[in-house]
Structures are given as structure tokens and as C-alpha cells.
């Protein structure tokens, strides 16, 4: 077994060759971007360039972008705004004691919301329909003049389902509520325009789009409240302390630049690959269900449930064949809870346990898809033969 097929691009991606190139060059640029001398100015120039490409990629201004250590940090920073009880803070959301988010958010949002709850902030969770789309009428019932912040992810990491962020943000703004979207899975895979969407905050990450790990960004709309999560320096215009990660920022900038060139073409190619994969699975394996929205979905993401086969077993048998996929269940981390995303969309626990996520990327080929369909068919057959449930492929 030497063949390696990586189908887990929603977890992370390899570096784009162009990103690798600029990062290894940036390795030599060691000056502190805050220094006034030439070494510092050289680093500053690279950071400014990256900031410009990333801002223009999402339709914002360079001064609206705050570099951070990760998408998770960006999400946490937004939720941290709400726990402020400083007497001098005059942000308009102060005094509003409720936050609305959704049942299908990334754990970093759910845990940040849970933390607010422990501090006495009320948290309401918008439900989703069977395709994983926010139930807009139910969501609207939760939002009021008491609401300080709404946070809804743009595209789901497990199912790839894309939300109607523009509509969801408009409802929040109708009540004077701040709106944040976690666009970590969306930005760089589908068009994202902060002006068109009308968002106040937007989180993004480099490593999901062929950039390096350890670097993310938060877009902060001009004039909305902001409070640094990490304090102690003037970096990022006082919004995020800590000496800038020059190499990471340079890689992030190049990753975004390459996305602006390749994203549209790649989306079409990934859709074709995904159709081929889907058709292959449908043709060869019985008792399956594809999850998520049929059309409002990231081009490379396919989530599928196999009756009578447990997800981790499928993942590890595929791993033995060199194929990397992911499962939404937390089984590998010791919890038996099935995917909260699939459960929220109304799936029963039995089916949710048997779900895997296949997420395609720029290096995947038709030959790899065909190889995967063949191996997956054999693996499901094997797991079902072992299973107590008596399903047959």
C-alpha cells in the first residue's frame, strides 16, 4: 500500500507550491515589523501587502483586517466582546444580555457561547432543517432588541451546507444586533464579499485554503465595537497584541492571491469530481444517505451515511488503504456522541454514527476518485459483514 489519497481538505490543506515559495523567502525576513529600521520596514512591507490582498479578496479595506493566530481565535475574540462589563465601555451592545447562534456551529463558537452563558449571558440556538439550513422563521423569533450578537457560520465544516448569510445578517441588523459569521470553511472556496453580505465581523483562516497553519484573520467592519482578546501591544492597530507572524501572514496573503486566481475554476472541477464520487457510491453501495443541502453546498464537500457501518471503523479501514477521510462523531476523542451537526438536522443517532465526510481539493484527480469508490465499496462491505445490524452491500 503506497497510494495516498487525501480527501480531508475541510480539516486542513497542503501548502500551495507558490505559498511554500514565498514563505521560504520570508523566512529570511526576521525584522520586527514594529521596528523603524530597514529590517523592520522590510517585514512591515510584506505584512501590508498581504493585508491588502486579503482585504480586497473579501471586499473590505486593509485597516479592517486583524491578523490573529487562528480562525478559532478570531471567533473567540468576537464572543469575548460580550463578556465586557467595564464601566467605561460605551459600546451599543452593552446592556443587551442575549446572544443568538446556531446548533451547527464549530465547537470553538459553541464553547465560547457556553462560556458566556456561565457568565450570565443568555444564549439561544437557532435550529436547522433537514438539509442543515438555518430555519429562518424560527431564528427570527429568537432575535430581539435584547440581543447583542448573532453568530452564524457561513459554510458548515461537516456537511458543507452554505447559509443565507445576507438574509440572516439583515434580520439581526433590523434589531440593531451585531452580526458575526465564521467563514473559515467558506472564504477561499466560495465568493465572500463583506459589503454584499452586510456582516460586522467575519472570521477566516489560512490553512483551509492552502495557506499555513497558525494564522487567521478577523474582518471588523468600520465603526463596530471592538475589544482586544490579547492585550499588551500596539500591533494590528492595538487590536491584537503580539509580534506579527510575518512568515504566516505572507503565506496567508499568497494563499488568498492564488485563490482569487484559481477558486472559480477549481470549484467547477471539484463539483465534477464530487458528482463522479457521488455517482460511484450510489451505484455500488446500498442503504446510504447523502447529507447536507443538495445545491447550497461547498463544491468539494460530500457527507454520506452508511447504514450498519460505524464511522470510525470506516475511517480506519480506509486509512489502511491510504485514503484519508473524516467522521463527524467525536468517537476518536472518546465521546460516543454522534455528530452534533447531523443530529441537529434531525438525523437519528444510529445513522449519524455511520457518517463520513469526504472533502476534495485542488490536487485530487478522477483516478483517485475511482480508486476511492472501489476501496470504499469493499470497506463498507467488510464493516457491514462484521456488524450486528445485518446490512448487506
Amino acid at each position: 500500500m503506497d497510494r495516498k489519497v487525501y480527501l480531508d481538505h475541510n480539516a486542513t490543506t497542503p501548502l500551495h507550491p507558490e505559498v511554500k515559495k514565498v514563505m521560504s523567502e520570508a523566512m529570511e525576513i526576521f525584522g520586527n515589523p514594529s521596528s523603524m529600521h530597514g529590517f523592520g520596514r522590510q517585514a512591515r512591507r510584506l505584512i501590508d501587502e498581504s493585508r491588502r490582498s486579503i482585504a480586497s479578496f473579501i471586499g473590505g479595506k486593509p485597516e479592517d483586517m486583524v491578523f490573529m493566530g487562528s480562525g478559532s481565535e478570531a471567533n473567540n475574540t468576537v464572543f469575548n466582546l460580550l463578556s465586557c462589563s467595564a464601566k467605561k465601555c460605551e459600546a451599543p451592545h452593552i446592556g443587551r444580555r442575549q446572544v443568538v447562534t446556531s446548533l451547527i456551529e464549530h465547537p470553538c463558537v459553541l464553547e465560547a457561547a457556553g462560556c458566556l452563558q456561565e457568565r450570565g449571558v443568555e444564549v439561544a440556538y437557532a435550529p436547522v432543517d433537514g438539509d442543515g439550513k438555518i430555519d429562518i422563521p424560527e431564528y427570527e423569533k429568537l432575535v430581539s432588541e435584547r440581543t447583542a450578537l448573532v453568530s452564524v457560520m457561513m459554510a458548515n465544516n461537516e456537511t458543507g451546507t452554505i447559509q443565507d448569510i445576507k438574509k440572516i445578517a439583515a434580520i439581526a441588523h433590523r434589531y440593531g444586533v451585531l452580526f458575526h459569521t465564521d467563514a473559515v470553511q467558506a472564504a477561499g472556496k466560495i465568493p465572500v464579499d463583506v459589503m454584499d453580505l452586510g456582516v460586522d465581523y467575519l472570521s477566516m483562516s489560512a490553512h483551509k485554503i492552502y495557506g499555513p497553519k497558525g494564522i487567521g484573520a478577523l474582518y471588523v467592519s468600520p465603526g463596530v465595537p471592538f475589544c482586544p482578546f490579547i492585550r499588551g501591544g500596539h500591533q494590528e492597530r492595538g487590536r491584537r497584541a503580539g509580534t506579527e507572524n510575518t512568515m504566516g501572514i505572507v503565506g496567508f496573503g499568497k494563499a488568498v492571491e492564488m485563490r482569487s486566481k484559481e477558486m472559480a475554476g477549481e470549484a467547477g472541477r471539484l463539483l465534477l469530481l464530487k458528482s463522479r464520487l457521488r455517482a460511484g457510491i450510489e451505484k455500488n453501495i446500498k442503504d446510504i444517505k447523502f447529507n447536507g443541502h443538495p445545491s447550497d453546498v461547498l463544491p468539494g464537500t460530500l457527507n454520506v451515511s452508511f447504514d450498519g457501518a460505524e464511522g470510525e471503523a470506516i475511517l480506519l479501514y480506509l486509512d489502511l488503504e491510504g485514503i484519508a477521510v473524516s467522521t463527524g462523531s467525536a468517537c476518536a476523542s472518546g465521546s460516543l456522541d454522534p455528530s452534533h451537526v447531523l443530529i441537529a438536522s434531525g438525523m437519528d443517532a444510529e445513522r449519524a454514527h455511520g457518517s463520513i465526510r469526504i472533502s476534495l481539493g485542488r490536487d485530487n484527480t478522477e483516478a483517485e476518485i475511482d480508486y476511492t469508490v472501489g476501496k470504499l465499496t469493499a470497506v463498507i462491505d467488510k464493516v457491514r459483514k462484521i456488524s450486528t445490524t445485518g446490512h448487506r452491500s
Binding site: G334, L336, D348, A349, H353, I386
Partner: protein
């Protein structure tokens, strides 16, 4: 990716996962003397154990199984089927999760409580064996 990358489980677990022993191929034709099932699919793990017993010696002569669950669940039931064979009913009844984990060369701590259920299914199979014995004795009497 290098070729030698450490797996999430021990080599013994990997071996049993890749080559499950004593799998119950067809429930409808297997003539078991006792059968037990534990767990449920909703919770992510379900195990079925079927045993054949020598009536005179009370020794388990064959042990077959099926499992719905993760790699730890599959491997732990597979290794249990090997341990149980040749044991007396009493010895088999006293097998614990610890015995299974030891035989597997260890399991990640957080996996032990959720994926090792085979010994309970085995006990259920032994109970079933005694139940059937009573019924057949009653019938004969």
C-alpha cells in the same frame, strides 16, 4: 506522508481490526448453544456473541461474534473470542474489560469504557446457555 506513521491503536488492535478472528459469518446456519447481545447501535456500539459448549465438561469449544462499532470495539470482541475458547463457563464468566485490554496490548484510556463490551455480551451468552439447558431439561423431564 512517511510510510511508517504511528497508528491510533496498538499493533495487536490493528491486527485484529484488519483480520478479525472467529467472525460469525451467518447467524442463520450457526448452531450456537448460547447467544448474547449488549449495547445498541444508537449509542455507537453493539456486540453479539454466540458460543458452543461441551455439555459434559462445561468448556466453551467455539466462540463467534459480530460487532457494530469503532476499531477498538471490533478488535476487543475479536480478541475476546480467542480468549474465551477453551475456557470453562465459570472462567469465561469472570473475564473482565481489563483482561481484554491487557490482551490487546492496551487501548487509549478514553476508549476502554465505551468500546470494551464483549465480556458483557459473553456473560449474556453464558446466561442464555444455562437458560436453554433448563428449558431442554424441563422438556425432557
Amino acid at each position: 506522508m512517511r510510510n511508517k506513521v504511528e497508528w491510533a491503536y496498538s499493533e495487536i488492535v490493528k491486527d485484529h481490526f484488519m483480520n478479525p478472528r472467529n467472525l460469525l459469518a451467518d447467524e442463520t446456519v450457526y448452531k450456537e448453544d448460547g447467544k448474547g447481545k449488549i449495547g445498541n447501535v444508537k449509542c455507537g456500539d453493539e456486540m453479539l456473541i454466540a458460543i458452543q459448549v461441551d455439555r459434559d465438561t462445561g468448556i466453551i469449544t467455539d466462540c463467534k461474534w459480530k460487532t457494530y462499532g469503532c476499531a477498538g470495539a471490533i478488535a476487543s470482541t475479536s480478541v475476546l473470542s480467542e480468549i474465551a475458547k477453551g475456557k470453562t463457563l465459570d472462567q469465561a464468566y469472570n473475564l473482565s474489560a481489563k483482561d481484554i485490554v491487557k490482551e490487546l496490548g492496551g487501548l487509549p484510556e478514553n476508549k476502554v469504557h465505551c468500546s470494551v463490551l464483549g465480556h458483557k455480551a459473553l456473560r449474556a451468552a453464558i446466561d442464555d446457555y444455562y437458560r436453554r439447558k433448563v428449558i431442554s431439561a424441563t422438556k425432557r423431564g
